[in-house]
């Protein structure tokens, strides 16, 4: 395709949605749908799923609809701001609906059109991906949603959470916001994304953080104190569970989980030992889930 053609095409297209408007549009869409719009959870988590509004609220019989953006930390994914696709801190937009509505797929596809993805022009595919989180003792059936070969959303029906069968079943939609915007804004570097329409780019907001946190995650995080902190969080969680305080206990479980991720990034956990750490965190998650479920009765 010649350059000229490309330009012509651009002219007929509306300006792509900037990063902050993508979030706002999704909030508006799901808010209108009837979701409680929440703010991010104020702790370090690896994914939007870890927010208690998803993990704990997906348990028990009560209906629940919520949506929120969640900064997610994956220490091992840090690339010192040098890789155009990888970040150790990024945003997920999370929707949770319990019980799952029959027309959720249709509604989801409609939400895509609000952020600039027209599913008659792009190859939207539902590719099997039965999600599992061994740390949360969670499992679901669902798909990665691909748009022209790129994963843009995780679409999951929870079957189990914190080791407990889900009944009724919730559906969870997790939008990868940076990827979606790279797609809609036609950028091949995440740092070049337009954050707003006032010239601020993603790099202006996060590039320094990516550099510094990558150094911390990979080089300077003190593994000895992390190992200690893991134990402290674990014990605190168990103690709080004895006191039947499900939410504070779950916070400690989140802490342990993040510390584990940091230890993993520091490369001090081998394959076999991973299993052991993961099962320790799972015990905490199970305890918290059980405790929360009992509080719902």
């Amino acid at each position: 395709m010649s350059k000229k053609n490309k330009l012509n095409k651009k002219k007929t297209k509306p300006t792509p949605v900037n990063f902050q408007n993508t979030i706002l549009n999704l909030q508006k869409f799901w808010g209108d749908y009837g979701c409680v719009i929440l703010q991010p959870y104020d702790m370090e988590v690896g994914a939007g799923t870890f927010h208690p509004a998803t993990t704990l609220r997906s348990l028990g019989p009560k209906s629940w609809k919520a949506a929120y953006v969640q900064p997610s930390r994956r220490p091992t994914d840090g690339r010192y701001g040098k890789n155009p696709n990888r970040l150790q801190h990024y945003y997920q937009f999370q929707v949770i609906v319990k019980p799952s509505p029959d027309d959720i797929k249709k509604i989801f596809l409609r939400s895509l059109s609000k952020i600039g993805i027209n599913h008659n022009e792009h190859d939207i595919r539902f590719v099997e991906d039965d999600w599992e989180s061994p740390t949360l003792g969670a499992a679901g059936r669902g798909w990665e949603v691909w748009c022209d070969g790129m994963e843009i959303t995780q679409f999951t029906y929870f079957q189990q959470m914190a080791g407990i069968e889900c009944n009724p079943v919730s559906v969870e939609l997790t939008y990868g916001l940076e990827r979606i915007c790279m797609f809609t804004q036609k950028k091949s570097n995440v740092f070049e994304l337009d954050w707003n329409d006032d010239g601020i780019k993603y790099k202006d907001v996060f590039h320094q953080a990516e550099k510094e946190f990558s150094s911390y995650n990979f080089e300077f995080a003190n593994t000895e104190s992390l190992l200690k902190n893991f134990e402290i969080a674990e014990n605190e969680c168990k103690f709080l569970l004895e006191k039947k305080l499900s939410l504070p206990a779950y916070d400690q479980c989140l802490k342990a989980s993040h510390i584990f991720n940091l230890l993993d990034a520091r490369g001090v956990i081998g394959v076999a030992q991973r299993t052991e750490y993961i099962s320790r965190i799972r015990e905490l998650a199970k305890g918290s889930g059980q405790c929360w479920l009992e509080s719902q009765k």
Binding site: D123, G149, Y157
Partner: protein, 688 residues
């Protein structure tokens, strides 16, 4: 003639589940119809990710069931049997009568001729059939109690242009299907299969999976022909993509040639596994920068192609960055990095582990007569790629990456190869390592694992095997038998325990060697079963063998299994059983002690002496062959005693009046059996 049409519309069902449901539900419907005496000419099933369709054609519009005589229970059977008979056939007391036949007196009933109400029949047949289908993987959604492969949205069921109306959990069958389009769903009325196909066709949906496959393969073959590329595609992937789309569209994509510099395994995994593309190879099997993708939509504006190319380039640019960074990072220098990589709590780090392997390397090299230095080098560096970024990104390429790094850094080819091959076999179907250095590292790697986890009592249980020790053991055994290796496992295990001790790793378990050998033995028996060797033969060989030479055990099993129905083994077992039966009988009836050795002065007949001499001859044979025993030869010798034993049985009566002579004869027979048991315990082999 009439047609039954069923459509089950759901959210996207994964390819494998879809294929299975398509086949199995059809089969179940066919069977159910036949059982209900509803005949049909043809039956077919189709699927797309969202649609499962069953069409049964050529059903008579009217089916008359003729008058039939049905037989009930015997007249003296318990009352419940009669009640059951009446209930299941919908009979009243007045309908039944008694009648004598050859086997006795029975209840009978005549059914009335009736015309089947097919619509009504289908109303129960369809939901019943669907209910009995069990998915390999199923799920629940919303607050419904239905368990299905993926959320089931609607059911269309039409017989002879009329709705077959039934309830299936929360759903009600009807005649409307849904077509997804931009932001809306179109509802379409269906009257039969033909009208349904018309609806789909107008939406460019290809329902028939075979047609989709043909379309896809044709297009892919054409492109390959045009570009002079090989048209060999992974069959599994073809099968998968055929069932991932309903509007197939093949697109030729391309990535920048600079990525061809990275190892092809990375390219293949990225394209095939992660993106479900078909990587393309030139005539010399060299990978190219072209690939095929199957989209679910025609690419009118070219967005799909551009989008996919971007995705794969983004992935590859990440991989290339790491490849260039990792390939020159000296494996030898990085060994110490393994000190930071914990293997398992009590079992130390990966550094400790490779140090242990290095020591085991010298013993295995001795046993297999290999270049010790090479095995040691391979053992020291075989885990280093675990700390590389690439293996972090592509865990499935552990070992493979190490091989490439080693080759880049000038290690000898067999040493480099051992880095990737020491992980073999990766599964039941996977090949075992075949090259000497690879074999050696693979074996000691597995022994170190087994000893470590058994040492700290992290043994597999019947339901849990978190460290995959079973697979490990089977891999070890397969490597030994498939390469015909003469290894001394007990020595290796014992030495491994010593090495752990030298690293101050404390074991709680005091009988590691015994437990591992037993564990291997059990796995070995399973392996033999998988190789279709008869259970009794496995037992017979197992019981008689006290050593731990699995190759030997395997060969014995094979030869017996091969010859079990041939005269040679039949003769041996026949003779053996004849002798052992006499002893068993005697022991059972009179509790006669048969413990001593036969004394030659008590022999009264030549046949006794001859048998005694024959036995000694065979014993002589066993002591003299040992290591070099040829099992064919052994079988010949054992079978060769038949004449002598036949003579004995024909002319000597064991049950002599003189108890001493009788006891002596029994002891002679027992000696005979024991001698034969040197080979395998023939008493375990089932009758011939």
């Amino acid at each position: 003639m009439a047609e039954l049409f069923i459509e089950l519309l759901s959210e996207e069902i994964p390819a494998k589940l879809q294929i299975e449901a398509r086949k199995k539900i059809k089969q179940a419907l066919d069977e159910k119809l036949q059982k209900s005496e509803i005949y049909f000419k043809s039956s077919s099933s189709y699927s797309t990710p969202k649609r499962l369709v069953f069409v049964i054609d050529g059903i008579p519009e009217k089916i008359e069931q003729k008058k039939k005589v049905i037989k009930g229970p015997k007249i003296d059977a318990p009352q419940v049997a009669l009640e059951g008979f009446m209930k299941s056939n919908n009979l009243k007391k007045t309908n039944i009568y008694k009648k004598k036949i050859e086997k006795g007196e029975f209840y009978f009933a005549d059914t009335k001729p009736k015309i089947l109400n097919l619509l009504k029949e289908f109303q129960s047949i369809i939901p019943e059939t669907l209910k009995t289908y069990s998915w390999k993987k199923s799920m629940k959604w919303s607050n419904y109690s239905l368990n299905w492969g993926r959320p089931l949205r609607s059911i269309v069921a039409i017989f002879n242009n009329k709705i077959v109306s039934f309830d299936f959990f929360h759903l009600k069958s009807g005649n409307q299907t849904l077509i997804e389009s931009l932001n809306e769903e179109k509802i379409k009325k269906v009257s039969d299969f033909k009208s349904y196909l018309n609806i789909l066709e107008s939406e460019n949906i290809v329902l028939d999976q075979e047609k989709r496959k043909k379309i896809i393969l044709n297009k892919m073959n054409n492109i390959c022909k045009l570009k002079n590329l090989k048209n060999k595609f992974s069959e599994n992937l073809v099968e998968e993509v055929v069932n991932l789309v309903e509007k197939p569209n093949v697109i030729l994509g391309k990535f920048d040639e600079i990525y061809l510099k990275i190892p092809k395994e990375i390219l293949i995994v990225t394209m095939q596994q992660h993106q479900k593309y078909f990587p393309l190879f030139d005539e010399n099997d060299k990978i190219t920068n072209l690939f095929l993708l199957v989209a679910n939509l025609s690419d009118k504006k070219g967005y799909i192609k551009i989008g996919n190319q971007k995705v794969v380039e983004a992935r590859l640019s990440d991989a290339k960055f790491f490849w260039e960074k990792n390939k020159n990072q000296s494996l030898v220098k990085q060994v110490r990095k393994l000190k930071d990589l914990s293997f398992f709590n009590e079992l130390g780090t990966f550094y400790d582990r490779t140090q242990r392997l290095r020591k085991l390397a010298s013993l295995i090299s001795e046993q297999l007569n290999l270049n010790k230095e090479k095995v040691e080098i391979a053992s020291s560096i075989c885990k280093v790629d675990l700390v590389s970024d690439l293996v972090g990104e592509y865990p499935e390429l552990q070992g493979v990456m190490g091989k490439y790094f080693a080759a880049e850094q000038g290690f000898e080819p067999d040493v480099s190869l051992a880095i990737s091959e020491h992980y073999l076999p990766k599964g039941i179907e996977s090949e075992v390592p075949k090259k000497p250095i690879s074999i050696a590292v693979s074996l000691i790697d597995k022994i170190d694992m087994l000893v470590g986890f058994f040492g700290i009592n992290e043994k597999p249980t019947s339901s849990k095997d978190p460290f995959a020790l079973r697979r490990n053991a089977i891999g070890l055994l397969r490597t030994i038998i498939e390469n015909k290796l003469d290894v001394h496992l007990k020595d290796l295990i014992n030495y491994s325990i010593v090495i752990y001790g030298e690293q101050n790793i404390k074991f709680k378990n005091n009988s590691i060697t015994k437990e591992i050998l037993n564990f291997l033995r059990e796995r070995f028996k399973n392996l033999l079963k998988d190789k279709k060797i008869r259970n009794d033969i496995i037992e017979a060989v197992d019981v008689s063998h006290t050593g731990h030479d699995f190759l030997l055990l395997y060969k014995k099993c094979l030869i017996i299994n091969k010859n079990i129905s041939k005269d040679i083994v039949k003769n041996i077992i026949g003779t053996y059983k004849r002798a052992s039966n006499i002893i068993d009988q005697e022991l059972k009836d009179k509790k006669q002690e048969v413990s001593g050795q036969p004394e030659s002065f008590l022999f009264k007949k030549d046949e006794e002496k001859n048998l005694y001499n024959k036995i000694n001859e065979i014993r002589q044979y066993f002591t003299s062959t040992k290591k070099n025993e040829s099992y064919d030869e052994t079988l010949k010798i054992l079978a060769g005693a038949k004449v002598t034993t036949d003579n004995f049985f024909d002319n000597v009566i064991v049950n002599d009046e003189n108890l001493d002579i009788k006891k002596n004869r029994l002891e002679l027979l027992q000696l005979f059996c024991k001698t034969y048991n040197n080979f395998i315990d023939f008493s375990k082999v089932e009758g011939v």
